[in-house]
Symmetry: C2
Subunit: 457 residues, 2 copies
C-alpha cells in the first residue's frame, strides 16, 4: 500500500521544495524534464498558494507554456484563482487564439480585467475572438498568419521570410495568403512554389487563384465536414466583406471534435457541462452532479408510483418484489445500448433526426431477439428458484416485452431530442429509464394480477 | 410525417437510378457533389448488390476515395462482403497505411486473398504494417515519405522535387528525411531551409542533426504524449538497427485519440468492441449486445437475491417494494458519475491507478453531500406520501448511506480495473451496480426489519 502515497508524490514534493526555496532555475529545469502528463498531474496536486508562487517563479513565458499544457484541463480554473495583476503578463505571452480559448471559460468581468494589462493590439484581437459565438470559425481561428499583397515579388516575400523567419516560426504554416489592397483574399501561395519561381515574378502570378475559403460564421460541424472533404492543413476565413480575418487549422477542428466526444461521454454519465476534474471545488462538482441527479430522483419517484398502484397484487405475490429491480435495470441497460448507437450515428451524420422509421425498424428487430433471450434467462431463473412455471412466465414475458420497448425507444429518443434541438447526451438516459421503468412495472404487475391465483399458490 | 420517408431518400433514389442505368459519369459526378457525411449516409442505405455495382462503376481510384471516407465507419464491412477479385484493384489504389488500416478489420485469410492481386511492393509493405501490434508506431506510420542521402546536394533535392513533385503531392509532408548509406536516419531537412541554401551545398550540412525519432514499438499513449510535448507534424520512426522505416503523423495520432474516446463512450453504454453501426448485420449487433447483457442479468439476479432473504420484512412492509428500484437506480446514477470522472482522469493521465486514497477522499466528500441531499428528498417524499416518519427515515438514511458507498466505489473501480490491466469502460458499470444494488437492498431491508413495528403500523 506504500505506493498509494508515493506515486507522483515524489515529483510534487520535489517541486514544493523548489518553490519554498525560491529556486527559479531548479523549477524551470524541473518543468522541462517532466512530460506534459506528469506536469498536469503535478500542478493539479499543488495547493492554490504554491501554484501561484510556482507560476511567478517560472516567469510569464514559461508559465504560459505550462498553462497551454493544461488547456481545457484546469488552466481556466488556475487563472481564475489568480490575482488579475499576476495573470495578465502570463496571458500576454499567448497567441490571441489561446488567450480567447482560456478567457472563454472565465467570467467576463475578470477576463476583461486581465486583458486590460495585455498589449492593446493583442487584447483587442482577443476581444474580437471572444465576441464570435463558440464553435464557429470565428472562435476557432488564429489571427497570426502570413499575408502578402499580390503586387509584391517573390524576392519581397523571400526577403521578408529571411528577415522575420524567426518570428514566423510560431505560425506553424505552410501557406502564405495573398490579399488585394483592401485586404480581400485573392489567392494562396504555397511556400514550395516559391522554390521554383523567378525572383522578380509577382506573387499574384504564381499564387493559387480563387482559393477555398470559409465565412467567419461557419459552424464547427461544417468545418469538420470541410476538412473531411479537403486534405488541407488550414483554411482562410473571411468576413462578409470578403476581407481575410484569420485561419482555421485542421488540427484545431480535430481537437474540438475530440473535446466534443469526451464531453459526450461525461454528459451521458450525467456530468452536466461535459467536464469535471477533481481539481474543481467540491461545491462546483457536487452541485453540477446534483442538478442532474435531482431531476432523476423525481422521475424515479414518478415511475415507482406504478408499483404503488399494484400494492395489493404485490402483497399476494411478494416474490415479484425481487424481480422489479431486475426488470428495471436490465431494460435500462438494453435501452442505453440503443441510445448510445443512435447518438454515435447522429454524430457521424449516418442518421438524421427525421429517420425515425428506419431506426425503429433496425432497433425493434434487435429488441425482439435480445428480449426473447433475456426473457428466457430470467424466466428460467424464476422457474428454477420457485418451481412455479407461472412466475417464470410472468417475469420472462414481461422482460421480453419491456426489452422490445426499451430498445425501440432507446433508438428513437436521441433522434427526437436532436430534432427538438436538444442535446441528447444528458437527457436521453433519464427519459429512457422513466419510460422503461413505468412500462416494465406495469407489465409485470398487471400480468401478475391476471395470473394471481397461480402465483400465490 | 412525410419527411420520415423522404430524408436522404432523394439521394439514395437518385444514386440507385444511376446505378441501374450504369451511368458511370453521372455516378462520379454525384459522388463529387455530395459531402462526405451525405456520402456515408447514402452508401449505408444501398443494399449489398447495389453497393458492389456502385463501386465497380466508379472505378478503382474513385472507389478507394469513397472507402477512405467510410474508414472506421463501415468500409471494412463493405470490402468484406465484396468478391476479393473486385476488392483488390480498389485496395491497390490506397497507400500502405490505408490498406493496413482497412485490412486490419478483415479476417486474415480474406485480407491475404485481396493482397495477392495488389502490386507486390505495396502489398509486402502492407503485410509488414499488419504485423505490427495495433496502436503502436509501426501500425500507425506511413511508409511513403521523402528521404535523401546526406551526400546529395541541395540541387539534387530541388531537381528531384521538380521532377517528381506531382507524385510527392500525396505525401503531405513538410520535411525530408536524411539517411546514411545504410538507411540509418541521420537528419531532418526542412523544405524552407532549401530556400536559403546555396545550390551546391550538401544536404548533410544544412539538415537538422540528431533529429527526434521514435522506435517502431512506441505505444499509442507515448506517441500522444510526444506530440503533446513537441509541436511537430510528424515524427520519423526507426527500427532497432536505427534504420528509418516510416513516419507517424500527428494527425493520425490525434485521430486515434478521437477514435478511442468514441469507443470509450460506446463501451461505457455496453457496446462490446466499442463500435456499432446500423449497417452491421442483425446477428453481429444482437450477439455483441447480448454478450454484455447476459453478464449483467446474472449479476442482477445475484444482487436481487438479497431481497429474497428479507421476504418476511417485505411482507410486513410492502410499501418498501416501491422504494427498492428507486434506491437501486439512483445509486447507480450517482456511482456512474464518479466512474466517468475517474475514466476521464485516467485517460488524461491526471490520476494514476495507484492513487486510490486520493480519489477516495475526493469522492467520499461528494458522496456525503449528495447522499444527504438525495436522502432528504427521497425521505421527504416517503414521509409526504405515507405520513410515516419512520418510513422516511428508513429510505432516506439508506439512500444517503448507499450514495456514499456508490460514489466512493464508483471513483475507485476504474482505477482498480486499470491497475489490473483491464479496460474500465465495459466492466465498471456492471461491477458498480452489483455492489450498490446488494448494499442498497441490504441497507433498506435490514434497517426496516429493525424498525418493522413502526413501519407496518
Amino acid at each position: 500500500m506504500q505506493d498509494v502515497f508515493n506515486d507522483t508524490g515524489g515529483s510534487v514534493k520535489e517541486l514544493k521544495n523548489l518553490i519554498e526555496s525560491g529556486d527559479e532555475i531548479g523549477i524551470a529545469a524541473h518543468v522541462d524534464e517532466i512530460s506534459p502528463r506528469e506536469l498536469a498531474r503535478t500542478v493539479a496536486r499543488l495547493d492554490d498558494g504554491d501554484r501561484t508562487r510556482f507560476l511567478e517563479l517560472l516567469g510569464p513565458a514559461k508559465a504560459a507554456y505550462v498553462l497551454s499544457k493544461l488547456s481545457g484541463i484546469g488552466a481556466a480554473g488556475i487563472v481564475e484563482q489568480m490575482n488579475p495583476d499576476q495573470a495578465s503578463p502570463i496571458v500576454g505571452e499567448m497567441t490571441s487564439h489561446d488567450q480567447a480559448n482560456l478567457l472563454r471559460d472565465i467570467s467576463g468581468h475578470r477576463a476583461e480585467r486581465i486583458l486590460r494589462d495585455v498589449e492593446p493590439t493583442a487584447a483587442s484581437e482577443t476581444r474580437a475572438l471572444l465576441n464570435y459565438p463558440e464553435n464557429t470559425a470565428g472562435s476557432l481561428m488564429v489571427t497570426e498568419y502570413l499575408s502578402y499583397n499580390g503586387r509584391q515579388t517573390v524576392k519581397d516575400v523571400l526577403d521578408d521570410l529571411r528577415l522575420f523567419g524567426e518570428q514566423y516560426s510560431d505560425y506553424d504554416i505552410q501557406y502564405a495568403y495573398v490579399v488585394s489592397d483592401n485586404g480581400a483574399l485573392i489567392g494562396v501561395l504555397r511556400l514550395r512554389d516559391l522554390l521554383m519561381a523567378g525572383r522578380n515574378r509577382l506573387i499574384e502570378e504564381i499564387m493559387i487563384k480563387n482559393p477555398l475559403k470559409l465565412d467567419v460564421g461557419t459552424s464547427f460541424r461544417e468545418l469538420s465536414d470541410f476538412f473531411g472533404q479537403h486534405a488541407l492543413l488550414g483554411v482562410p476565413i473571411t468576413n462578409d466583406q470578403g476581407i481575410m480575418v484569420g485561419v482555421v487549422r485542421a488540427s484545431v477542428v480535430r481537437e474540438a471534435v475530440t473535446r466534443q466526444s469526451n464531453q459526450l461521454f461525461l454528459k451521458f454519465a450525467g456530468i452536466v457541462g461535459g467536464e469535471e476534474l477533481r481539481t474543481m471545488s467540491l461545491f462546483k462538482r457536487s452541485s453540477r452532479r446534483l442538478s442532474w441527479l435531482s431531476i432523476n430522483i423525481v422521475l424515479n419517484i414518478v415511475a415507482a408510483s406504478v408499483i404503488a398502484l399494484y400494492q395489493e397484487t404485490l402483497e399476494k405475490a411478494i416474490v415479484l418484489a425481487v424481480f422489479l429491480p431486475i426488470i428495471s435495470d436490465m431494460s435500462g441497460c438494453s435501452g442505453n445500448q440503443a441510445v448510445a448507437v443512435s447518438i454515435r450515428e447522429l454524430t457521424l451524420g449516418l442518421v438524421r433526426p427525421r429517420e425515425l422509421l428506419r431506426v425503429f425498424a433496425k432497433e425493434a428487430s434487435i429488441g425482439l431477439v435480445n428480449g426473447i433471450v433475456l426473457g428466457l434467462l430470467l424466466g428460467g431463473a424464476a422457474l428454477l428458484w420457485k418451481g412455479n412455471p407461472y412466475l417464470g412466465l410472468v417475469v420472462g414475458v414481461s422482460l421480453a416485452a419491456n426489452t422490445l420497448v426499451a430498445v425501440s425507444f432507446g433508438g428513437l429518443i436521441p433522434l427526437i431530442l436532436r430534432g427538438m434541438k436538444t442535446d441528447p447526451a444528458l437527457a436521453s438516459g433519464p427519459m429512457l429509464t422513466t419510460i422503461t421503468d413505468m412500462c416494465g412495472f406495469f407489465l409485470v404487475l398487471s400480468f401478475a394480477s391476471v395470473l394471481l391465483p397461480r402465483l400465490s399458490g
